[in-house]
């Protein structure tokens, strides 16, 4: 129980830290984002009253008579209500709506691709560690090249080969625009086809890290006494490999998930840009290019919350796969 409480407290603190960063960054930077934003709004024929101005000032700072503390709490209140303001680039859609329409695309893409990368990477890593001294050893240097390839460059190459030259997959987008989005077979299969290359990009570039980590831990774990016991017990090689060696070797990979998730999220933002994928990464860049600060901040927060949530989930699952953590608090 103490373990869970500590984890919850930590992620609570992390969330608060992210919110605070989000509050101070625009206030610390040069320039006056509120004026830029309001000018853009007026260009689009929006009727900007004093209340809209005040809402943006709370979010981004600027000339306001309120004290910083007061602004801070009003800002926190707005955030907790999911009130991120109105998007400029998609005026007059509220930021929350823009986010909720693009978030599912990214969650599905990143979620599935990460799952595949973890399965492929740890699976191969397990074999490479178990069968050390065989041809599988050559996988290790190969992974370093893949790990060092920039995501988006790999995406460009994949597009050049599979979309432009071979024409197997579509070039851009998340689905066939002639179809209307919904839970029907035609749309889903189209989304699947459009998602193959972006997902492949993420899987190829992140599986190498999992492979290497798993392989090294396997090598260390194979020297443990309980693996020797398993061999002496006459268990099958498969059972020894999976339940004695790999089952223990995988723990540090799971514990280090937070580290990898950051890379995956970063990679997927850039990858979405290459494929013009209708996810949250593309929206973030669109917001940046249009000085849509409200949307930008909203997306940053949502990404942060999603990453924190995923990490919390993994930490909670970790307590299930390693019975020792609960005992140690």
């Amino acid at each position: 129980m103490r373990y869970y409480l500590r984890k919850l407290a930590f992620y609570g603190a992390a969330l608060w830290g992210a919110l605070t960063l989000n509050f101070f960054i625009p206030r610390m930077m040069p320039g006056d984002p509120v004026d830029i934003l309001l000018a853009k709004l007026q260009q689009r024929g929006a009727n900007v009253g004093p209340s809209a101005r005040r809402a943006y000032e709370l979010l981004l700072g600027g000339n306001t008579n309120d004290s910083l503390i007061h602004q801070y709490f009003a800002y926190l209140g707005n955030m907790l209500h999911g009130d991120f303001g109105v998007s400029v680039s998609d005026y007059p859609t509220p930021v929350a709506t823009v986010i909720s329409s693009s978030l599912p695309w990214t969650v599905a893409l990143v979620g599935i691709a990460t799952l595949l990368a973890v399965l492929v990477g740890t699976g191969l890593g397990m074999l490479a560690g178990w069968r050390r001294g065989t041809w599988l050893d050559s996988l290790v240097p190969a992974t370093t090249v893949l790990a060092a390839v920039p995501y988006f460059w790999l995406a460009l190459i994949l597009v050049a080969v599979f979309a432009i030259n071979l024409g197997w997959f579509p070039l851009l987008g998340g689905y066939d625009v002639s179809l209307s989005p919904g839970w029907n077979g035609a749309f889903l299969s189209s989304a699947l086809r459009y998602g193959v290359l972006p997902a492949l990009t993420i899987v190829i570039s992140s599986a190498g890290g999992w492979l290497l980590g798993m392989r090294n831990m396997m090598v260390s774990t194979l020297a443990e006494d309980y693996v020797l016991t398993a061999r002496a017990k006459g268990l099958t090689g498969r059972r020894t490999m999976v339940w004695y060696a790999a089952r223990n070797a995988v723990l540090p990979s799971i514990a280090g998930f937070a580290n990898s998730l950051g890379f995956i999220v970063a990679g997927s933002i850039v990858t979405e840009q290459v494929f013009s994928y209708p996810g949250i990464g593309s929206k973030l860049l669109e917001a940046v290019q249009n000085d849509d600060y409200a949307l930008m901040q909203g997306i940053f927060l949502v990404i942060t919350v999603a990453v924190l949530g995923a990490n919390l989930l993994v930490d909670l699952l970790y307590a299930l796969v390693d019975p020792r953590v609960k005992a140690n608090g």
């Binding site: 050893d137 006494d225 002496a232």
Partner: protein, 639 residues
């Protein structure tokens, strides 16, 4: 890059471990790639023309005048590549240095100082780790007006968002180092804190720091490339990322201008690969287990033909070096089958095929009778554990059985040739006929499986016909046998005490009612009271179940108490074998006498317990002309 080399080359007088990576093909290729790309970034700009010059020949494929073709506006791609490589390397190094300094500050200093500072630093780095880096960098960059976005700004932002991961790694390592003896000694001696960190601690952390620095450089180059590709990089800078950005905006992809977007990515990939290869070599300093092992030779993996009876070098050793140490009439000849034996070992030799071969077990013959306890006594490094592993064929390369035979005389009268088993036969033999209890009971149980799962998988493997209920009943019964509450089946190993764990191991060893149980120092790690209890239990079970025990230990007095017969082992040989009474009353070999003398009575002063085999390898490989032997000889004469 220069920093990296400086890190690796700095002398570290106080450390005992390797400082420079071992020279290997991996390292050579890595360094080669880094040097070539580094030189290209450094000197390339002087060799190529103006990268900005616009010509009237947009998007031409590689040719003699333009080796890598031209961009949309007719700029030379090769010239751009040279300047862009320089720009990316510069940012990478800058961020690498800054991030490493930050991580050292938060990771090393924090954990060394300890207390609240450590808590705060650790919380901070964990927070920075979970907040996604690139979105944060994008947001920060977006708020900085493009005109104010210089290389340094980007570098600082990347460093601030990129140090946390390595700070955590460094912290863990520092925490383990700061409790080592030499650090403690320096602190007790009153050395100043900065001196302890700088002179004692830092040199030992250097390999790790170097590897973290390499990671930081790769990470920084990748992040900067991504950022520039998105158009959020430093203003007016030329990096590989901006090149790719222009290529993307110039529709290089759609127009098939591969020469524009392939080279920049390739340079990054190769450079990252080179750094990673260097990192492998650094990792091998940090964790020697990861070193490359030579590809296993097939003949070692499957031993189908019978081993040769005797090796030439073994015979030489026999004749010249150790002759006279062994009392010929005191050890069984082994050629005549022993009536009532359950396990016969004949002329077994095990050699570690290292650069200088080590003969760990030499020409050992043993017979274990049904239901008896045979104590195998010797100091650490005498080869007794190697012998035990070889009997179960658990030895791994480079250890190899070079000669001899191992026979198990099965209950039904069949003789099983252990060395001739194929993989499946061996698996069926293990635990069913012969089980083992290992030295480190603490670590012999899998920490993440319940006791029940670890008992149960023995039954599912060896007794596939048993039903779930039968298996459960059998596991519970085995635990009851060794005095452990069957409710403990649900427990994980960490929830049990050391003595309890060893009892569970014994229950596991008896699960299939084997004919032989090998005990390898089963109680060494336990306190004396628990030890006694477990041994008494074992003796009782032996009487009740009738299995034979090969009990391996360095504790001769204990063996005198519990075993029927005792074999004394030294330098890979059995030097004397007799009943426990005979050994106690009239030991014949000088070494046995010496062993007996070195265990004083409880009140006496501690005897000079000889440890000739302190270093098994060098000792066993050399003629035993060491001082201890002279000592024995001298003592033997004075008696």
């Amino acid at each position: 890059m220069t920093d990296l080399n400086a890190d690796l080359a700095a002398p570290r007088p106080r450390t005992g471990r390797r400082v420079l990576p071992r020279w290997s093909p991996k390292l050579a290729i890595g360094v080669g790639i880094i040097v070539v790309i580094g030189l290209w970034g450094l000197l390339g700009p002087f060799l190529v023309g103006d990268p900005e010059a616009i010509r009237d020949m947009g998007l031409t494929a590689p040719s003699r005048t333009h080796l890598l073709g031209t961009t949309q506006t007719g700029q030379d791609v090769l010239a751009q590549l040279a300047y862009a490589t320089r720009g990316s390397l510069f940012i990478g190094l800058l961020v690498g240095v800054m991030a490493t300094v930050l991580s050292a500050l938060f990771g090393i200093v924090g954990s060394y100082v300890g207390g609240l500072v450590d808590e705060a630093f650790s919380l901070l780095s964990n927070l920075m780790l979970v907040i996604p880096g690139l979105p944060l960098v994008i947001v920060i960059s977006a708020f900085v007006p493009a005109s104010a976005r210089g290389s340094w700004t980007i570098a600082v932002v990347l460093a601030i968002t990129g140090w946390a991961g390595s700070a955590r790694v460094l912290r863990a390592q520092t925490l383990s180092l700061r409790n080592r003896d030499y650090i403690q000694a320096a602190r007790v001696a009153g050395e100043k804190r900065w001196r302890v960190i700088g002179v004692e601690l830092l040199p030992n952390l250097l390999p790790l720091l170097a590897s973290q620095f390499v990671f930081a450089v790769i990470g920084a180059i990748l992040s900067e490339t991504g950022l520039s590709f998105l158009g959020l990089g430093a203003a007016n800078s030329a990096t590989l990322g901006t090149m790719l950005n222009y290529a993307q905006n110039g529709f290089a992809l759609q127009r098939g201008a591969w020469w524009w977007f392939v080279p920049p990515g390739l340079i990054i990939a190769l450079f990252g690969c080179g750094l990673a290869l260097v990192n492998f070599s650094i990792d091998e300093i940090i964790n020697p287990r990861l070193r490359d092992i030579p590809r296993r030779e097939r003949r070692n993996r499957r031993r189908t033909q019978r081993p040769v009876k005797r090796l030439d070098d073994g015979a030489v050793l026999d004749g010249t070096v150790l002759d006279g140490t062994v009392l010929d009439d005191a050890v069984p000849d082994g050629t005549v089958p022993d009536d009532g034996a359950v396990l016969t070992v004949r002329h077994l030799s095990v050699t570690y095929r290292t650069e200088r071969p080590v003969h760990a077990v030499r020409d050992v013959s043993l017979a274990l009778r049904r239901g008896e306890i045979l104590g195998l006594v010797g100091e650490s490094g005498c080869g007794k554990t190697t012998l035990a592993y070889a009997i179960n064929r658990l030895h791994r390369p480079p250890a190899e059985v070079t000669s001899g035979s191992i026979t198990l005389h099965d209950r039904d009268g069949e003789d099983l040739d252990v060395l001739a088993f194929d993989r499946d036969e061996l698996r069926a033999f293990r635990w069913d006929k012969l089980s083992m209890v290992f030295q480190g009971a603490m670590n012999a149980l899998n920490p993440v499986l319940t006791i029940r799962a670890q008992l149960d998988d023995v039954l599912t493997t060896h007794r596939p016909s048993m039903s779930r209920g039968e298996r459960h009943e059998r596991c519970a019964e085995a635990l009851r046998l060794v005095g452990v509450d069957p409710r403990r089946l649900k427990a994980y190993p960490h929830e049990l005490s050391g003595g309890m764990r060893q009892r569970v191991m014994i229950a596991m060893a008896l699960l299939l009612e084997p004919q032989v149980v090998l005990l390898d120092e089963p109680t060494t790690a336990l306190d004396v009271v628990v030890q006694r209890g477990i041994l008494r239990e074992l003796l009782r079970l032996r009487t009740a179940l009738g299995f034979a025990v090969l009990f391996i230990t360095h504790d001769l007095p204990l063996m005198l108490e519990v075993s029927d017969r005792i074999a004394v082992m030294r330098d890979g040989r059995i030097v004397e074998e007799a009943t426990a009474e005979q050994i106690a009353a009239e030991p014949r070999h000088p070494y046995t006498r010496h062993l007996l003398d070195s265990f004083p009575s409880l009140v006496g002063e501690r005897g000079a317990f000889i440890r000739a085999g302190e270093d098994e390898r060098s000792q066993a490989a050399q003629p035993p002309a060491a001082a201890s032997d002279d000592g024995i000889a001298a003592e033997a004469e004075t008696r």
